[in-house]
C-alpha cells in the first residue's frame, strides 16, 4: 500500500472528471434528437417530415385510371408525351375526391400560347405561331382538338 499514500487529491480530481463526464452525457442525451443517426448523420425525423408532405400533382397514372378514353385519344396524337396536369393543373384533390372537387377547364386562349407562341430561343423544329396572324382572333380549339391537335386528313401534319 506504500505507493498509494497521499492520493486524496487524485481521487478528487478523478471525481471532478467523472462529474463532468456524467454532465456531458446528460446534456448530450437531452439535446440530441432521438431520431438522429437513424438513416445517417442527420435527424431522421426531418426525412419523415419532408417525405410526408401532401401531394399537389396526382401524376398521370392516377388520371388514366378513370379517364382511359382521353388517355387513348391523347396517345395517338402529337401531344402524347404531355402529362394531363401539365395543362389541367395540379389535381390531386380531384383524384382523392372526384365527387366534391371538380377541375376547372383550362382557358384555351392562355393555355396554347404558353408553349406555341413564337420565340427565337425555342428549338427550330417546335411548332410556333404568331397567335394574331395564325387564327385571326379565333380561339385555338375552333380548329384544333387539344388532346389530338393535328388535322387527321389533310395538308398539315
Amino acid at each position: 500500500m506504500g505507493e498509494f499514500k497521499d492520493i486524496a487529491h487524485l481521487i478528487r480530481l478523478a471525481g471532478v472528471f467523472l462529474l463532468g463526464l456524467v454532465l456531458f452525457l446528460v446534456v448530450r442525451s437531452v439535446t440530441i434528437p432521438k431520431s438522429f443517426g437513424q438513416y445517417g448523420p442527420f435527424r431522421g425525423a426531418a426525412l419523415v417530415e419532408l417525405s410526408s408532405r401532401p401531394l399537389a400533382f396526382a401524376g398521370h397514372e392516377a388520371c388514366e385510371i378513370c379517364h382511359p378514353d382521353v388517355a387513348a385519344l391523347k396517345a395517338k396524337g402529337v401531344h402524347k408525351s404531355i402529362n394531363c396536369e401539365s395543362c389541367h393543373g395540379p389535381l390531386s384533390k380531384h383524384a382523392d375526391d372526384p365527387g366534391n372537387f371538380k377541375p376547372v377547364l383550362p382557358d384555351v386562349a392562355q393555355l396554347c400560347i404558353r408553349c406555341h407562341s413564337e420565340n427565337i430561343a425555342k428549338p427550330a423544329g417546335f411548332p410556333q405561331v404568331n397567335a394574331k396572324d395564325h387564327s385571326s382572333g379565333q380561339t385555338c380549339n375552333t380548329c384544333h382538338k387539344p388532346h389530338s391537335p393535328s388535322f387527321d386528313a389533310g395538308d398539315k401534319k
Partner: protein, 243 residues
Amino acid sequence: MMLNRRQILLLLPAAAVAWDFVLADNPAGSPNYKMSDHWWGMLVDITKCIGCGSCVRACALENDVPEGYFRTWVERYHVSDWHIENPQVDSPKGGMDGFPPGKTEGGKNFFVPKMCNHCVDSPCSQVCPVGATFHTPDGVVLVDYEYCLGCRYCIQACPYGCRFFHPKKHTADKCTLCYHRITKGLTTACCEACPTGARQLADLKNPNDPIHAFLKTHSVQVLKPHLATGSKLYYNSLDGSVR
C-alpha cells in the same frame, strides 16, 4: 463472452454489412420505399426546352414556394459569336410566365432550366455550421428546417445559386427533388408538368432507367464541372457559355 482474434476478424465484415442495413432504411410515410435502392439525379435536355415555364409554376404549386423566390427557374441565353464568354441572360419572373420575344440579330438563343444539382460533394452542406443540410442515402440534398438557424452561409456557398432565404420560415430553402413524391414512386412536379420531356427524373441505381442509354449516346455535361461538386443534374447539349 471472450472473442479471439480470428472471431473478431470474421465478425467485422458482417458488422459492416449490417451497418449498411441500419443506415439504409425506409422513411415512415413511404413504407414501400427503400433508400438504398435509389440514387437520384435529373436529366435536362436543352434541345427540348421551349421555355414555357410549366416546371416553374408546377414547382411553386407543389411546394408552396413564396412569390418571387424559385426552387427551379428557366434562363434564356443569347450568345453572339464574338461574345461567347459574355452571354446575355434573362429570366423574367424565373420564366414562370414564359418569355417575351427575344433578340433576333445574330447569335444562338436557347433556354436553360436550372435547379438544385443535388451534388454528391455539395458546398452547401460542407459550410453549414449546424449540420442542417444533409445528404440522404438516396442522393438527395435536403434541409432540416428545425436545425437551420438561417445564417445564410449555404446560400452564399452554392455555386449554382439554387438556395434562397425563405421569408416566412426564416430558414434556407431549396429544391427537395420533390422528396415527398419520389419516395411514393411518382416523378417530381417539374418533370410531371414538362410538356416536352426536357426534364426527366433519373434513378441512377435502376439499371432499367432510360438515363443509362441516354448518357451512353449523348454529349452530356454538368454545370461548372471544374468545381468538382459531383453534380447529378445532367445537361444534354449544354453550351459552353452557360454558367
